[in-house]
């Protein structure tokens, strides 16, 4: 199997610790921002979710679950030991959101939006691109992540 790491631009690999650091902080910021926005106006978020054709039945659980999951992931990313787990979790969340948007855009007769703050002002296509971008970022983070114990730059030389 070809090494995945070789497919990533050299620059990122050389600066991998910094790149992973930046990715983690981006995700922390994104998730905390999104979670707070939802919790601040929980009632609105809940009503919006109950409009969604996909989530209407489980709106109650989802309305609490999503912001809590977002906060949890942000915490995971903050603690160095759990950083890799946090990156997997970020990937899962972003991928799920992306998939949700794709389903809603393609199959639902009407599209409600439940994203907080500035995200609310994005159009659906922009939103989709934004989410896909963050999903890819999580993948990049997962492959670039190294334990601090390992000497870095090892494969760059190979």
């Amino acid at each position: 199997m070809k090494r995945i790491i070789l497919a990533i631009p050299r620059f990122f690999v050389q600066k991998r610790t910094i790149v992973v650091e930046i990715i983690c902080y981006l995700f922390m910021f994104l998730f905390l921002y999104a979670a707070l926005n939802k919790l601040i106006d929980y009632q609105k978020f809940h009503v919006e979710l109950s409009k969604s054709i996909l989530l209407a039945k489980i709106a109650e659980g989802i309305a609490w679950g999503i912001p809590l999951a977002e906060i949890l992931v942000a915490v995971l990313l903050f603690i160095p030991r759990f950083r890799l787990t946090g990156l997997y979790a970020s990937f899962c969340l972003m991928f799920a959101f992306t998939g949700y948007i794709i389903i809603v855009l393609n199959f639902s007769p009407h599209v409600p939006c439940s994203c907080g703050g500035i995200l609310n002002n994005m159009g659906w296509t922009e939103h989709l691109i934004f989410n896909i971008g963050f999903t890819l970022l999580a993948i990049l983070g997962i492959f670039l992540y190294t334990d601090r114990k390992e000497p870095y730059g090892k494969y760059v030389m190979a």
Partner: protein, 367 residues
Amino acid sequence: MKNNEKKRLILLLLSTLCIVLALVSLYALSPLSNREIYRGSFSRDFIAEKTLTPQNVLDLGVNSYYISGLTEDEVFLSNYTNPIHLVRMNRQLKDTQHIRLHLEELDSVVSPKIFKTEVDPPYFYMTHGVHPALMKGKVGEWRARHHLSGLAFYTDAVSIDSSTFAIRYFSKSQQAYALALLQEKEPQFKPNTNILRGQAEGMFSVSGMLHYSKELQKVVYLYSYRNQFMVMDKELNLLHRHNTLDTISIARVKVDKIESDNSYTLTSQPAVTQKMSAVSGNYLFVQSALLAKNEDKEEFKKKVVIDLYDINTGDYQHSFYLPRYKNNSIKNFKVTENRLLAIHDQYLVAYRLPDIPSPDPTIVKAK
């Protein structure tokens, strides 16, 4: 290290799989996978040519156009995303001309996408219910100026003549939508709060479509969520309440309040009974969302059904289908004489209507 990479790849694929599974089950459990179409207890009378065939088609490239004007010889299209852009073409949908509209004395406006254009030669109108603005200009000159004073916020406007508009607005005293006339003569604002009748709440249960028939000089309002339309004279006096084919007399809507915005929103899946409509001459054309008992469900899903009503008598005439052109339902349609034009996503399609008797000549003369 190689192992490490492999492990991460496998974990990543596993998470992908889990999420895909979760989404698929979410989809499978939702009403999307098995959408029930409400089957009414009424039957439809289809004309001999059950499904109309497209006569002319124009690919517009984008799906943001709507038909803003339709005359015997010409078609006018406006664009939601760029309200000052207008397209003019002949009845064969050829000789396309792109026009830039000029808005005078209007520097900026919030949400310009709200602007709606109506071309009715020799004038054209641009309405924006939130600004609120109502502009009027001459076809050919294409310069719109403010028209009518004492404007209230409105949600919908249709021209009756060059100095009178019928609007739908939110009445604070009634806490509900109501209809009104906006006109040059006094009173400039003439409401009639008795036409729209709310059920439990005065917003969604009365939402619908406002039309004016130039030939009959009558205003028509068709509810979206229930089986009724009202016919008024041009002074907005109620003449009749008529029923559409189905028996849904109570709007099937569930409403929830968003406290922070102090706004209301629909929470149930909207149970629209009348999706879209148009008025031409004596007739009201309604795109229905309901399946009749003598209709094939699969055929219904593949087509767009239009029911015809006589505005004067309220009688149902007959129905026909439009195809879903390139698998696109219609976004907007208009009718003139014996032609029906519809926007199917990015395509403008012209259909020929089979023999509908033309409006009574004496009434046309009176215009």
